[in-house]
Each structure stands twice: as structure tokens, then as C-alpha cells.
């Protein structure tokens, strides 16, 4: 489909934007909770691991890139198993989108609108995201491309403004909670690069070399952004304090004090943070509808958007409180989803190898 052709830079930026969306949420404090002063080592480790794990996705796409994901899954594993595999991608995806929706809405309640009901936030978020999902992946990726420098600039701006509060000593002891958690959570948190499954789940048209570049570049870029944020977060707050807040970046922005005229500027950054959240949720809705549409062999994904939005809305209201959301999505979903995300292409490759299904002939010609 012509519609799904997006530029390489746009794809890199889109992936980076949605992968780094976590830094606005609970990501930094979770990492500090895992590794203490050494949480930046976890990121380094998980990033390198993601680079290795990405090769599964790459090989899968090289072999079966011509078809949509449900098609190739069914081709390889047969209709029943294939459908199961697609569902194994879809359901966590749905829950992840719902939880992220809830988290972004809760974030707005904490940062800017403490007395507004959460339902208003959630509904606003889902309506705007659904509209944009309707416009398609082209628009979303272009929006990501436009907003990326702005939100990156906003984050860097906060980081630089907290400079007076930096204390190099907070980075020590260097290994924090020890090597064991670094390795353990380094593996588990490669789930942070889980949004890479967009590459194989949504039929985006790229040439093999491009996919390689897109994957590696976006992983490295994401890792760099994670590193910068975590390191400056550790410089600003001691590790013990760093574990505490829900929204670390917000806490950093609160600490900005540039004389009497410029303080408490966290609300300005809402402008950029929210757009990041919107991008995340709209690509989430779009992706879900697109995969479902491919799975059901429908001609158009757009009619699915409204029911999907309502479904996501409903799921996002299931957790009773913000701590529940955080506990579920951080300590359960984000720790094990990497098995699914990188495992499914690997599994499909394995099945294909066992069944002796090689590269489809038409695909080679491309």
C-alpha cells in the first residue's frame, strides 16, 4: 500500500519518539529503583542487548518482509498457530496502550490539573489520538518528525537548567546496588525497546538495508537519550531520593530556579510532553487496528478505530489507582514483554526453518 511508505528518517524518529516516551513517565525512577547509582549501566547493558535481539527482527523481516505480519505468521505457522501468534502480539499491545494512556493522563493530573477528574483527561487523550490514528501512519510519523526536535529540546532544556543542582558525588558508589541487579534488569529491561515490534507488526515498506539502519539507529538514539536523562537525574537527586517520585522529569523541572523570574516552569513542558503521549497512543491505536485489519483481511483499518478506542478507554479504567497502574505496567509488563517482542520473530523463524519454508520466491525478486 502506498499509504504506508514513510521516510527512513521519519521511521527512526517515530521509533525513537515512542521508545523514549517512557522518560516522561516512571522510567527514570524505576531504573534508579533497580540499580541505584548504577542504573545507567543497566541502560547501557539493555541497549546493547536490544541491539543483539534486534537481529531476530531483522532476519525475520529480511525473509518475510513482503507480506503483512498476520499473513506471514499464518503462512509459516499455519492458520491456527499463526492466529495465536498474532494474538500474542495484539493483546499485550492493547493492554500496553491502555496502560500508557492511563499513565499519561495521570501524569497530567499530577503535573498540571490536580483537580480535574481523570476521566476527562483519558477521554481527551483518546479522542485526540483516535482522530490522528484515523489520519494514518504517514501523518503520525510526520508529526513525530516535527515534534521530535521540540520535545528533545524541551527535555535537554530542563536538564541543562537543573545544572546548578548537579552533584557529581551522587553518581557514587559507582556500581550502586551491585552487579547482580545490573545484569538481571539489564536483560529484563530490554523490554524498553519493545516498540520495535512496530517494524514487523505494521506493514511499513522499507528496503532491507533501510530496516537495518532504522533499527540500529533508533536503538542507539534511544539509548543515548535514556543515558543522558538517567545520568542527569542521578546528578540532580541522590539515588535514594530518585526512587521516590512518580514523574522524575517533572521533579527535575520543578527544581529549576533561574532567579526570581523563572521558576516552576514545569507547566511549559506540558506542551511538549503531551504531544509525545499523543504520538504514542495514536500509533498504538493505529497499530492495533492495522494488525487486526490485516488479520481479519479487511480492506480498511479505519472503521476499527472507534471500537478500539472505546475498548482501550475501558481497559484503562480497570486499575483502581495510579500506584496499581505503575506496579502493573512497570513491574510486570515491562519486565517480561521482551520475551514476546523479540521472541515472536525468533519463534517464527524457527518454525519456518523446521518446516523448511524458505524465502518466498516473489520476495526474493524484490
Amino acid at each position: 500500500m502506498q499509504e504506508n511508505k514513510i521516510g527512513e528518517t521519519e521511521a527512526i524518529v517515530l521509533l525513537t519518539t515512542i521508545m523514549t516516551g517512557k522518560i516522561f513517565l516512571t522510567f527514570p525512577n524505576t531504573m534508579v529503583g533497580y540499580g541505584g547509582n548504577a542504573s545507567w549501566l543497566i541502560i547501557l547493558f539493555s541497549g546493547c542487548l536490544a541491539l543483539i535481539l534486534f537481529s531476530f527482527i531483522l532476519r525475520f523481516l529480511n525473509k518475510f518482509g513482503g507480506n503483512s505480519f498476520p499473513e506471514s505468521a499464518e503462512n509459516i505457522a499455519g492458520p491456527y498457530l499463526g492466529t495465536m501468534i498474532v494474538l500474542a502480539v495484539l493483546l499485550p499491545w492493547l493492554i500496553d496502550v491502555a496502560m500508557t494512556l492511563r499513565k499519561f493522563s495521570e501524569m497530567m493530573v499530577i503535573i498540571a490539573l490536580p483537580e480535574t477528574p481523570i476521566s476527562v483527561m483519558v477521554i481527551t487523550f483518546i479522542v485526540a489520538s483516535a482522530i490522528v490514528a484515523y489520519l494514518g501512519v504517514n501523518t503520525i510519523s510526520r508529526a513525530a518528525y516535527l515534534s521530535f526536535p521540540l520535545s528533545l529540546g524541551a527535555v535537554l532544556f530542563i536538564i541543562i537548567l537543573t545544572y546548578p543542582a548537579w552533584n557529581l558525588d551522587w553518581l557514587f558508589p559507582l556500581l550502586g546496588k551491585g552487579l547482580d541487579p545490573i545484569l538481571r534488569y539489564g536483560i529484563l529491561r530490554s523490554s524498553d525497546y519493545g516498540e520495535l515490534n512496530l517494524l514487523y507488526a505494521i506493514p511499513l515498506i522499507f528496503y532491507s538495508q533501510q530496516i537495518k539502519r532504522i533499527g540500529y539507529k533508533s536503538i542507539v538514539l534511544t539509548m543515548l537519550i535514556f543515558l543522558v536523562v538517567i545520568i542527569t537525574y542521578l546528578l540532580t537527586f541522590p539515588a535514594v531520593v530518585g526512587e521516590e517520585p512518580y514523574l522524575p522529569l517533572y521533579m527535575m523541572a520543578r527544581g529549576v530556579y533561574l532567579g526570581r523570574f523563572l521558576q516552576r516552569i514545569e507547566a511549559v513542558f506540558v506542551l511538549f510532553w503531551v504531544i509525545n503521549g499523543y504520538l504514542w497512543i495514536s500509533i498504538g491505536i493505529y497499530g492495533f487496528c492495522k494488525i487486526l485489519c490485516d488479520l481479519l483481511r479487511l480492506p480498511d483499518y479505519r472503521p476499527l478505530i472507534l471500537p478500539t478506542a472505546i475498548l482501550i478507554l475501558a481497559i484503562s479504567f480497570i486499575p483502581a489507582s495510579l500506584p496499581d497502574v505503575v506496579l502493573f505496567s512497570i513491574y510486570t509488563y515491562r519486565e517480561y514483554s521482551f520475551i514476546l517482542i523479540f521472541g515472536i520473530p525468533a519463534l517464527l523463524l524457527l518454525i519456518a526453518h523446521l518446516r523448511g519454508k524458505g524465502v518466498p520466491a516473489e520476495n526474493e525478486a524484490k
Binding site: 490539573l113 489520519l135 494514518g136 510526520r142 521558576q263 472503521p303
Partner: protein, 591 residues
Amino acid sequence: MKLRKFLSKALGYDGPPTDRKFILEETKEEKFLAADGDIKGDTVNAAHPRCPLKKPKKPGQNEQTANEQDTGELRHTLSENILYLEEKFHLPKNKDVVFRSFTISTVPEVSAVLLYLENMVDKQAINHSILQPLMLLSHLNPNQGANLATYQRILQSYLPSNHVRKLTIYDEVITEVTGGATVILFDGCSYGLAAETRGFAFRNIEAARTEQVVQGPQEGFNENIQDNTSLIRKHLRTEQLITEYEKVGVRNKTNVAIMYLEDLANTSLVKEVKSRVTGINADYLPESGTLEEFIEDHTFSLIPQIIKTERPDRVASMLIEGKVAIVVDNDPFVMLVPTTLWDLLHSPEDHYVRFPYGFWLRFIRLAAALLTVLLPALYVAVATFHQEMIPTDLLLSIAAAKERVPFPTIVEVLLMEFSFELIREAGVRVPGIIGPTVGIVGTLILGQAAVAASLVSPILIIVVAVTGLSSYAIPSYSAGFGLRFMRFIFIFLAATLGFFGISTGLFIVFCLLLSMNSFGVPFLAPVAPKTVRSADILIRYPVWSQEQRPDYLQTKDRQRQVNKSRRWLTKSPDQRKDGGSAGAGKQNRRD
């Protein structure tokens, strides 16, 4: 039941959208290069050889487009023709139409009739260049009588009018007469002659009124299509500049000229423009705004997708970028397609002043656009939701100023913004002499009095004034309109959800802009989707570094100037001799 119908229409689904999409396709080479995988990023370098130029079409080829369905051909006898035309022109009633019978001095005498509209023609021209030669001066061979050759000779030798056409059908006669020409019909001949005698009143060429510049050419278009096309031609003296005339409108045929550079403009783009312009089945097109609404891609968008300008220099500079100009008769505004958002923020002055100033002007204008849309909304959001970020002193003075104001901030803002819109509208409509008074009354007295009466707080006056000023710094009138309208949406969003509302609005607006197309070109190109970096979007780079035409226009010749446009910088004069001009051409390919 109506509600149910509405809901099913609003929420339901009736198949994939069927509307025809026009996308300006990439060139074959770009596709080929992309397929090869040997590209940098997602942009294809412009280092490909020039496209071979197609031979320009012969000018006559485009003429036969309009009148095909007519069958009413001119009769052989004059009286029949007169009868038919008198009926067509509702003659006894219509006092403007003149049928002037006369005889041509041949032997035997041939009776003929002049047909024109009383106030549309230049009488001097009729007397001197039609009647005089035909009645007095013609030394036609007395014995030839009324045969075809005679008229051929009249056409060739006896009408000193600059533009004479042969007419064979009634509709042509009517079009010519209503266009101000004088039609000569002869007895015994099944065709007539139309001589150019246009003589109606129109404005002289004056300075452009809506797009003023300090430095640079001042002249603007007027309401006459001939003048306008000639003004454009005056700027672009090249044989590649094509002017195609189309008649648009069913009841009233408005003259529309489509102008483009044959060796630059993308052929499919020209085709698309022509098909949209000629495909209008409407009664009447008074001016370009109506045509704009007919041919634009997104009618409901707040931002225009076609740029309108009354400056010939601007049209010329855009034609040479590869755009297509649409000139409508009776209107001093020329439309240019495709348009991107950035064009709306550009002013020709950016290029007429030196690079640093042009660079600075762009930033002021960008800031003006953002302020127009966001400043009142930001004020509302900050004052009612995010008081913590206002410096304490300022917050206290805002609070103190509001001490005796009875309204909430949103009402204050709406009140002032609405009165500003009133002032603006009244200032436009009010007769010229009183105009400045309205401005002064509006700005000074109204603001002052509103503050004195504790209706609004003084800080708000500043906000509204700055917003109003910025909205006039936007060069495109209709974009200014759109942004001013958008401002109200943002005020509402800010009053509802503070900064969150504003960013929600921004996100949706930007996504809608991103999904828009203007004649097959993405509206935010070349920024998103990213194509080849352009040297003239937000930052206007020095003129010598603007080496390429915008990539998104898919022009036939991408290179605007060679990479080293200032030759004296690269080679000393002696070396240049052996390199020669051929060297410059080769260099162009390599870089």
C-alpha cells in the same frame, strides 16, 4: 429518527473513501535510486543528470479545447445571421448592442454589419481601423464580388487591427462581442471577423495594496487579465512561459489564464490544474476567491492551500520555482499552486533585503504567527491554571488588576478579542475617510475606557494588542484570517484544560495540517515529509546557496543555479578561459 440517521452517518462506515487522490509522484530516477537501496537517508541527492527537455508544444495545439459541442454555425446570408443574433441579444430590449450596417466599397457593393457592445469598445478604434479602411480606403477589385477570397483579403490586408479572428459559429460571435471585440459579418459569407477593439474602463497599474514591501518592485496587478499576464511576462521574458486560456463558468464564461514555465513545471501538475479549472460546472466565477474554493483540496481547513498574491514579482519568482499560476479575469489576485505552509509565511521582501535582515524577518514572522494563535490562550491558561509559573510580582499585579473586574478571565479575553475583531472588521468596511478614526477610537478609547470601567484588566489589553499586531505581520491575508480564527479555538481549549488543552489543540491542528495536500504536494513539505533540504523554508539562506528548486514540486529541472554560482570565487579569470562555460555545465552534474 433524524438523530439516528445522523449518528449512523457520523459514526458509521460506508466503505473505504472513494475520493480521487492526486499525488505528485516522484520522478522515475528517484524511484529507481530508492529501489536500488543506494540512497542517503530517505532523500535522493539532486546529483542526477538533468531531465532531457521535452520540446515545447506548438502554441496552436491548445486552442481547440473549448468549443466542441456547438453546432450553431454562421449562416450564409447576412439577414439570417442578424436575425439570429438579434434574438440572442434580446435586441429590442437590450440597448447596449449595436448593429451598424454599412456597405463595403466593392462592386457590387457588399453589405456588412458591425456588431459590438456600446460601452465595451473603443470607438476611435472602430472608426479608424475598421470602418475607415473598409468603407473608404479599400481598393478591392471591383469585380470580385462577395466571395471567399475577398474576405480573406480583407482579413489579410484591410483591417489594421492588431488582433483579428475568424469566427464560424454563433457562440464564438457572442463570446467575442461580450468580451469587447467588434464582429464584422458580411453578406454571403458563412464566417465573420472579430477585431480587437476592447475599450472598457479599468484601473491603472498601481502599487500593490495588500502586500507592501519597502524595498523592491512596487507594482501590483489590476483587474484586467491582459495587463496581468503582461506584467508576469514582463518579469519572465522567456519563450518557455506558457499562457493557456480557459473559459470557466456555464452561464458566464470567465477568462482564466493558466501560466507556467514549460521547461520547469511538472507536466502532471499542469494537467491536474487544467483538469480542475476546466472541470468546474458552475454558473459564474466573479473572481479568484470563488475559483479557489472550487479547486482547493480542503475546503474546511482554516489554513488556505492556495496562495494568492497581487505582486507580479512574487508570481514570477514562484513560476520559476516550478509552480503554476492561475490568473482570473476581473481580479487583481493571482493564485499559485501548489502551496505549502511556509509559502504563507514568506514575503517577497525576505529576498529583497540582504541575507541577515531577511533571516531576521522570517523569525519575526514565525513568532508573529505563533503569537497570533497562542498568546491569548497562553494568557488564559497561565492565569487560571498555572499560576505557579508566573513570577510572584506579576501574579500579584494581575490579581490586583482583576480585583474590581467582575468577569472571569475567559470572559474578559473573549470580550476584548471580540471587540478587536469588530474594530478590524469595521475598519475595513467603513468609508475610507473615517477608517483611521475607527482605528483610533477602537484601540485607544475602547481599551482605555474598558480598563477604567473595570471591565477588563490592563494586562489583557497588552495581550490583545500584541496578538492583534502579530496577526497583521502575517503576509498572507487569508492565512492571517485562519490563524485569528484558530486563536478562539485555542482560547476555549486553554480555558477548559489549560496547557493540556493547548497542546491537544496544537497536536490535532498540526496533524491535520500534516495530512493535508495542496495539488498533490504535502502541505508541510519539505519539512515533513522530509525531502531534500531546502534553503528557503524558515531560514532564508543566502541567495547564492539556494541552488535547487524545491524538491517537492518535482520540477523538470531541479537545479536553480550551479553549485558555485559565483564563478569568480572558484577560478581566477585566466583559468576560467580554458574551463569555459562548458566546464560550468559539467560541474553542475558532478556536484
